[in-house]
Symmetry: C2
Subunit: 165 residues, 2 copies
DNA sequence: GATTGCTGGTTGCGATCTGCAACCACTCCG
DNA sequence: CGGAGTGGTTGCAGATCGCAACCAGCAATC
């Protein structure tokens, strides 16, 4: 954070999320709705180490992408939430997912969400971001608004079930 | 490259371009039309070191994002070109640029391109990618097709000139 | 035909980051 | 009180990074 190699938007973005783990943490919070340290640690597909996770969470809080708050239900628990800048990474993850799906050896189960995000386009991303604002920032939204998260998760689980048969 | 922590598209993408330099090299090739080692080395806003540049170029070639070819005009010269997967990173860079422009302390000159890419939307990106296919892959395209690169570069230079006054 | 400069790199080395495993203080539940 | 669960911290070996210095081959210059 001290550094600032140049004022280029791409460069500055990379200085914040240009490493192998930060965006995966955001991804799990966004698509997996994981909010606690242990959830992020043990449910990670890639097996992040606890010290790396602690470091990344701290950095992301400092950078303003996520927030950290005590959980009233348990005095030692901590809830991590996406802040607005973190929520707005949805299009970035969608673009990255589309690219990876096209050019890299992805697994079908894990790429179904990327496919749906790509097909849904910006309109779907906006709905998803509104849903995240509700989940993470407590902003109410109109009754009957579709749950993109549930849609994505169902599709993922269906693929998992299909792969097992 | 040997690793493959998971089959998630986002994770796999990060394993290829998830570091602080790879995407900057692609950016300079894409928006600055830099094709030679020295160009990439000395014109880099961020001051990449030569060993890092050499390493990243090699990795990007191995990953299939760019190609390396001898330059007929000078037996020791080498030309680096974007391959199709590298060209298709345009939407990723556009998304990353939009995000950075919104949430980070960018400089005006360097963010004008991100702004134009954002305003132009996917239609502009497609034209730009077609132009890159012509420049890097030699694929002809219809006469009279607009040059997005020239447009972006002019806007950038105009901003530089404006900042000096 | 020696010099000078440009070409794409390589080498050495210290600092930093990564990844694994073990450990810790605290809190809630029974 | 005992045990499971909480968010982490600590130690340490190995990999990676980043800077600076250096290098051999080629081409134009003097």
């Amino acid at each position: 954070m001290a550094e600032k190699r140049s004022g280029c938007p791409i460069n500055l973005s990379l200085e914040v999320i240009g490493d192998k783990w930060s965006l995966l943490v955001i991804r799990d919070m966004t698509f997996g709705n994981r909010r606690h340290f242990r959830e992020l640690l043990t449910s990670s597909e890639e097996g992040i180490a606890s010290n790396i996770l602690a470091d990344r969470l701290q950095r992301l809080v400092e950078a303003g992408l996520i927030t950290r708050a005590p959980d009233p239900s348990h005095k030692q628990k901590v809830v991590y939430s996406l802040a607005e800048p973190g929520i707005q990474l949805v299009p970035v993850m969608a673009a990255l997912g589309s690219w990876g799906r096209r050019h890299l050896p992805v697994s079908r189960e894990l790429s179904i969400r990327a496919e749906l995000l790509e097909r849904g386009g910006p309109a779907l991303w906006e709905d998803f971001m509104d849903e995240l604002r509700e989940l993470h920032l407590g902003k109410a939204r109109p009754d009957g608004a579709r749950s993109v998260l549930a849609h994505l998760t169902e599709a993922y689980l269906a693929e998992v079930a299909r792969a097992e048969n």
